[in-house]
Structure formats: C-alpha cells, structure tokens
C-alpha cells in the first residue's frame, strides 16, 4: 500500500490551503495511507487544522527552534529522515514546496516529478511542460521512493471533518548552519491573498498608470477580491511584482477571474487557465483574452469598471 508523506505548509498559525490540495492528489492514488509532516517552532495550532483534513491518517509534528522558518537546507535532512517510512513524498507546487522538495529528492538520490496535475496510478502521473502548452504522462520506477510537487491549481481542497492522530516526532539529524533567515516582507495584507482568493481582478497595461489601478482596488474591495496584474502592467511599473499573474508570476485558479485591459499574452493565459470563470473586459474585440474568456465585454474599461462597481 502506498504510504504518502505530505509536506504541510504553514506560517506557524495557519495551514496553507495548498496542503489540502496535496491531500486530494494523494487520495487520488487510492488505498493510500496519508500523513502530513509539519516542521516548525511550535506546530500545535496548525497540527489541529491538519488533523481535520479528511483522508489524513496521521499528522507528524517536528518542533524545534531551528524550524521557525521554512529553510530548505534545514528542513530537507529532517524530511529525508522521516521519509524512510514512506513510499511517496509530496509537496505543494508553491514557492515553499518548489524550493524544498528537489533538495529532498536529491538527498534521497531519486528524481522528482514536478507539478502533478493528474494521477493515473501510484507511479504514473500527468504534468505540464512548455508552460502548459503540452501535457506529458510520466512513469516513475516503483522500486524508488517517489518525490513530487502537486500543482495546486489542478486539485480541489480536501474537505474538513477528519480526525487524524497527531504525534510529536523527534528527528535526530545534524542541521547545517550555513543558511540563516533574516526577514520577510509581505505585500498588501488588507486584501485576500492572490494565490488563494476565490475572486481575482487583474489589470493590464491598458490601465495606463499605477494611479488608475485604484479603480481595480476599489472594485475588488466591493467584491472581496484579490488584485492581480499582467506582466506588461508590472513591467510598466503600474503594479507590484508580487501581483503578477502568469507563467512568470503566480499561477492561480480562482472561481472568478476578471481580466481588465489585458490582451492575453500566452504567458498570462498559462497562469489563469484553471480559473473556473474568466471574464474579459477589453476595448479590442480581437484581443486573444476573448479566446479563453467565458464572458467577454468589449468596451472602454474606464467607463465599464466604475459602472460595474455601482451595479454589484
């Protein structure tokens, strides 16, 4: 029976929803025993949240002061030690997972399958290449441990209501001292997180200025939506880089995505193709964004956006 270890992502207080999506992916393998590993300074609160995810049998807490920040060089040797009891190690395809899992795989001497988007068997998966312009089916050797990242946009969050057991685990491995955490700076905190928001409103170069992005923030506040931007808008200095949606920014899958003044470069479309409903507002009816939009409105965004804000 596959025994799957999921690397839980959290900030010490809240479990990242990406973890629930990894559980859904792991459960798709079928007949699998699923464990979530939580490394941190104090994982008591997040362990309770992880234990409530349906389909999870066990939550392993590895608390030590060195784990206060998720440094791959510090986490990886501990995960390698935990992995001894498992056939699979899954991390989310977030910046946390993408940083950490390859280091784990290499220490284990095994290849990694990145960005699982569909499960076809315990050792057979689909994943995107060329920014999603091709999908490959890969098979891994069942004789080796399988390390993978799970493309979070491809899976629904596993429901809550489970009752997994929580265990504290001491992992006796030497940790390197060559990597030190100095600090973090988050962007705006008063709005929903772009990566996980159910609704996202993004602006493109047609907004024309950082000042005009306020139109979107105002609409977003009314809809309780996160605000994103195309790479063109970021490059033009209208929006912060962390707002960038696309292949070179964030790949997201909200319920509702409203693209405003975005023409729809291939790299942007790659970042939104898993959105449930895409709305495009653009004055150019020939813009490629309309090829993927579920609902399109051709017109001047400077008239449409304020009117939309009044009517919702």
């Amino acid at each position: 029976m596959p025994k799957i270890l999921i690397l839980g992502e959290h900030d010490g207080k809240t479990l990242n929803p990406a973890t629930q999506k990894c559980v859904t992916c792991a459960a798709a393998i079928g007949e699998a025993e699923i464990t979530i590993a939580l490394l941190g300074a104090d994982t008591a609160a997040v362990a309770t949240q992880a234990a409530a995810i349906q389909g999870v049998q066990r939550v392993l807490r590895v608390d030590r002061p060195e784990n206060a920040h998720p440094l791959a060089a510090i986490f990886a040797p501990q995960i390698v030690a935990l992995a001894a009891d498992y056939t699979h190690v899954f991390g989310p395809s977030t910046s946390f997972g993408k940083d950490l899992t390859p280091r784990v795989a290499a220490l284990l001497g095994v290849p990694q399958v990145s960005d699982l988007m569909a499960v076809e068997g315990a050792y057979r998966f689909k994943r995107p290449i060329y920014a999603g312009n091709a999908i490959i089916t890969v098979e891994a050797d069942p004789a080796r441990k399988l390390v993978a990242t799970v493309r979070v946009a491809s899976f629904e969050a596993a429901p809550l209501g489970g009752t997994a057991t929580i265990e504290s685990k001491a992992v006796e491995v030497a940790l390197p001292t060559h990597t030190r955490y100095l600090g973090s700076k988050s962007g705006s905190t008063d709005r929903p997180d772009l990566q996980t928001a159910a609704k996202v409103i993004s602006g493109g170069r047609a907004l024309g200025s950082a000042e005009n992005f306020k139109l979107l923030f105002s609409l977003a506040a009314k809809l309780n939506a996160a605000v994103g931007a195309s790479r063109a808008a970021v490059d033009a200095g209208y929006a912060a880089n962390e707002m960038q949606v696309g292949q070179t920014g964030k790949i997201i899958s909200p319920e509702l995505y409203i693209a405003i003044g975005i023409s729809g470069a291939i790299q942007h479309l790659t970042g939104i193709k898993d959105a449930r409903t895409i709305v495009a507002i653009n004055k150019d009816g020939e813009a490629p964004i309309f090829e993927v939009a579920d609902v399109g409105l051709v017109g001047d965004l400077f008239q449409i956006v304020p009117e939309l804000e009044r009517l919702v």
Binding site: P176, S186, L223, L297
Partner: protein, 249 residues
C-alpha cells in the same frame, strides 16, 4: 569572490509556439529556433555584474547538451563570460543528472557561487539548482530578486508567494534567479567576434563519471484541453446579470 559558474540551458525560444506531434511522441522541435533559457540569461547577467564590481572574478558558463549547444555558450561568451564548458551528450538530461554533472564540474572548478535560472522554460522542472545544492552539501537561495555579496557570504532576497524573504548564506552556494533580478544586456557585434576567440572546452558525461539514462519515462505527450468558447455580453448590466446567475457575485 574569485569564480562564478553559470548554468546555461539550450531551450526552444520563448517566442515559439510549441506544438505536440500528432503521434503523441513529443513536441515538434525540427527547425525550431533555439536560445539560451531566459532565466539562465538573467543568472549570467548577475554573474557579469558581480564580476564588473569586483576584481579578478572569472565567470565560467557551463552547459550540458547536444553539440549545437556551443551556439548558446558562444552567446554567453559574447555577453561577457570568460570561458565555457560544454558537457556534450545526445541524451536528454533530467534535473538530477544535470545536478550530478554540475557537481562534478564544481568539484573541478571550485567556484564561490553557482548561478542558475530558477527553471528552464522547456521542462519547467524547477529542480536543478536545488538538487545541485543538496548533493554539493551547500546552501541554496532560490528565486533570487536581489543578491549582495560580502565577506564570504551572500544576502539574497527571494521572491516567495507571500512576498519577499531575505536569507543569508555562506559561500560557496547555489543561487537560482527569478525574473526581477536584472535585465540582461544585449550582445554587440564586436563582442560576438571576440567571443569566437574565448576558450570553449568540450567534455562528456563519461569523462566526468556520470551515468546518463532516463530515470523517469515519458509515455505520452498530448496538447492541453481547450476551454469552451464563451459568450459576449453587450453591456455592464448584462454582465452583472450573467455573473449573478452563475452565483459568482
């Protein structure tokens, strides 16, 4: 800081629209324009900037690939790398093998810093830098948007989902770079001429003691599923009505 190695991958140019072969055996690569992986160009640019701000820093561009990969290494030399090494192979090299190969080169060259793009835009694996750091038993700083070198250490600002994170790492170390780090320079014609005289060594996986081979088997390649064509609405009230009907607002 005396030596920086930079990983360079030959990939399909980012402007090419990649198509899947009808028989599902892969993507069409015949006659397609090939370029340096854009993220690797940023890594090289960073190495050159460190070189220009320091004294006696040598920048070595390294690649693994077919004989024609010399073209991409010549581009790297034209940008300003001092010399280049090609580990020539006709076999596709997976990230773990690439990391083992780079480690063999690093052990020979002893760089202070190994810079790579955060991922290659062909296989999108996003693994090689982290794997190299792991088996080299050295620090890693992925998704760098700022790199400062001083006193045998690097202070690296990383682009993470929640914003920016800053870490300090001891050298030697592996740093993988993100889009915001810098804007790579354009290559000028005199530099292309000069690059022809710069050393480009060709070696093989065998010579480095690396066993090539597929660790993962790709059994099928298919195009992505297409979204269904949507509807056009004529005005904002109609848009609001549609979104309300779908229960989205």
């Amino acid at each position: 800081m005396q030596k920086i190695m930079v990983g360079i991958k030959r990939v399909v140019d980012y402007n090419v629209r990649v198509r899947v072969k009808p028989d599902g055996s892969g993507v069409m690569l015949d006659g397609v324009k090939m370029s340096v992986n854009p993220f690797d160009e940023i890594a090289l640019e960073e190495a050159l900037r460190i070189k220009e701000h320091g004294t006696n820093v040598e920048v070595v561009a390294v690649s693994i690939g077919v004989a024609d990969t010399q073209q991409q290494l010549r581009t790297a030399l034209a940008m300003g790398a001092d010399r280049a090494i090609l580990v020539q192979t006709d076999t596709a090299v997976e990230p773990l093998i690439a990391a083992q190969t780079f480690l063999a080169l690093a052990k020979r060259e002893n760089p202070d810093l190994f810079l790579l793009g955060k991922q290659a835009i062909d296989d999108d694996a996003n693994q090689t830098g982290q794997m190299l750091a792991a088996i080299w038993e050295r620090p890693q700083a992925t998704y760098a948007s700022k790199v400062e070198i001083a006193d045998g250490k690097a202070t690296v600002t990383r682009e993470v989902d929640a914003g920016l994170e800053t870490i300090e790492i001891d050298l030697p170390a592996v740093v993988t770079v993100d889009l915001r780090l810098n804007e790579p320079r354009y290559v000028k014609l005199p530099d292309i001429m000069k690059a022809k005289k710069k050393p480009l060594d060709v070696t093989s996986l065998d010579a480095l003691g690396i066993t090539a081979g597929a660790l993962l088997k790709t059994v099928k390649t298919e195009p992505p599923s297409q979204r269904q064509k949507g509807i056009l609405v004529k005005d904002v009230p109609e848009l609001v009505a549609v979104l309300k009907k779908k229960g989205l607002i």
